[in-house]
Assembly symmetry: C2
Homo-oligomer: 139 residues x 2
């Protein structure tokens, strides 16, 4: 999904393209990994925007509700990302570090099957592997 399409979609829903909203979408598009709320706040500060915490909450809730972004809660922290069909992660159970992995999944076929059999309209998916990273595995 290109950024123009996202903007248009927001317009169609009656939403405004505020500075905060644009920066959030922009940074999520340019970051190819999960961003926490703190991470998003930092990106906003870099653009000289210091919105109130409640604004961020409302903004992220809005973007999730309109399916513009996806929320993924790992280890009690909410992370956000642009739906891109592929977002797979290695999550360390000890240091809680999260790293991206590229694995070939065969989900397109599976998803079509599920859509038919279960009549469930799949928009995206998330896959996380939990375990110990190299550092933590060696105590």
């Amino acid at each position: 999904m290109k950024i123009e399409e996202i903007y248009k979609q927001i317009n169609n829903l009656g939403g405004r393209l505020t500075k905060v909203r644009k920066v959030i979408i922009d940074s999520l598009i340019n970051s190819d990994c999960l961003m926490s709320q703190d991470c998003i706040l930092k990106a906003l500060k870099k653009n000289d925007l210091k919105p109130n915490r409640s604004t961020i909450f409302r903004e992220l809730a809005y973007l999730v509700k309109t399916n513009t972004i996806i929320k993924n809660t790992i280890n009690n922290i909410d992370y956000y990302e642009i739906p891109k069909a592929h977002h797979h992660h290695l999550v360390c159970l000890k240091c809680h570090d999260i790293s991206k992995i590229d694995i070939k999944d065969h989900f397109e076929i599976e998803e079509k099957k599920i859509s038919k059999e279960k009549k469930f309209n799949i928009l995206n998916h998330s896959l996380e592997f939990y375990g110990y990273c190299e550092n933590c595995n060696n105590f």
Copy 2:
């Protein structure tokens, strides 16, 4: 993992096999799907146990910390399950219903590859498909 092994593991770590702990482990083993805290509380009540809320929090945190159970947060609600290598779900973005699906994954091979390449010791994984269930898809 058999229940005796779990009990032994808890003992080895210096943990006690309290009534609450046993019922939680039992009900998670016998439930083949995700259980929320409320769901676990109901199971405890069925066994005439009405522990304090803080006890449940502490207990679940303990079981997660010792890798006896897994926590999976979906739509802001923490769900718990026994690690069993396979726990895949369909999550409705509208009514928030969660249903189990059995899909053949090829992760054993992938996991071995990742373990080698990234030196990441994988213990388990979670896979969720997000979208609209049959009811919600028809508005």
